[in-house]
Symmetry: C2
Subunit: 212 residues, 2 copies
């Protein structure tokens, strides 16, 4: 056996952040550059926004379908946010992990907490913080011409999401997006090298020691 | 407070490997390229080899001096290998960690086990494996015109050292040295981003949330 053939188990890379911290840009760059990494596409009961594609951005389903998936254990995690239901289909994730591929999750603290209980060993959790409050406000405001009411709601949600940073293993402060992408890639590279994700190493080393 | 000023605690990066796996090349590259990383220079009671520099390769000390350092708690770890005593001076390491700098250790499994008990939270352990038994033999033989007896002893020691790979967190198979260097650098980058090594983050986030 050569080390190229040593089987490894995939990992679940969770990126969470307050809205406006730059998580989507980082995710896109990772998916573009990283081999063996695919996105976990969530289900949602909310209405598609203009341009959103079923099966790429979300699987758009009914409340009834969501209820059935929960009842049948087909979701790794699920949550209700602003009157809408969300969830992570289990099948895609389990297939990828078993094949030694990694899966990227763009989920909030609620989803992360549930994944921690259902799959703690496969999980790598990263929280992305904005570099300053001014920068976060600028990015939240820059998005659209929203009313003050909507802005306040969004800021309150960002503050709430940010309060959960201590539940994550790695913290990336997104000052320069290229630096942040490099940091998340380093986390992915390092975690792939963890002994417990490489069940084939024991045979590989034993073969070598036998030859000495 | 900006995130540039968020204090972090340094970490202790341990590289272990059987002799001939390429660890010295990797260490030199890391020390050359990485800011905030310095080598932990061990003490030893063995005779200097030609070209070895006191204070750079080792601190060459007497058996008596070694005994005193052990008795005074001045060594983070110490061991006897082939009739010679070795050890890691505590003072340099503690000063660097407190300043937020990292320290590189080139020590064997015995030293690693002792560091694990004396400083588990600051430790990051990496084991470097050769890509194949043939390559390891080639590198061990390539070193010098040693007798078969010396070669056998060296091979036995390599096999023994290799048996300790499961005690390490990260495993790097040194197939291409540039790839291995990149992998160890990724481990260092990732570990620096771990939440528990960045005690200043709580204030940083609380300041931001307070402003929302």
């Amino acid at each position: 056996m050569t080390d190229r053939n040593v089987p490894r188990r995939g990992l679940m890379l969770v990126l969470s952040s307050p809205s406006g911290a730059g998580k989507s840009t980082i995710s896109r760059a990772l998916l573009r550059d990283e081999h063996q990494l695919s996105m976990s596409v969530s289900v949602t009961t909310r209405t598609p926004r203009p341009g959103e594609v079923h099966g790429k951005d979300y699987y758009f389903i009914t409340v009834d379908e969501h209820r059935h998936m929960v009842a049948n254990g087909e979701l790794l995690e699920h949550a209700k946010v602003f009157d809408n239901y969300y969830g992570t289909p289990r099948a895609h994730v389990e297939k990828e992990l078993a094949a030694g591929h990694d899966v990227l999750f763009d989920i909030d603290w609620q989803g992360t907490q549930q994944l921690k209980s259902s799959a703690p060993n496969d999980l790598v959790t990263v929280f992305i913080l904005p570099p300053s409050i001014g920068e976060l406000e600028r990015r939240l405001r820059g998005r659209a011409q929203d009313s003050e009411e909507v802005m306040r709601k969004r800021m309150a949600r960002a503050a709430d999401e940010m309060s959960h940073w201590p539940e994550y293993e790695y913290i990336v402060v997104n000052r320069e997006v290229d630096e942040s992408i490099a940091q998340v890639r380093a986390i992915l590279t390092a975690e792939r090298l963890r002994r417990e994700r490489r069940p084939g190493l024991a045979d590989f080393v034993n073969d070598m020691r036998g030859g000495l």
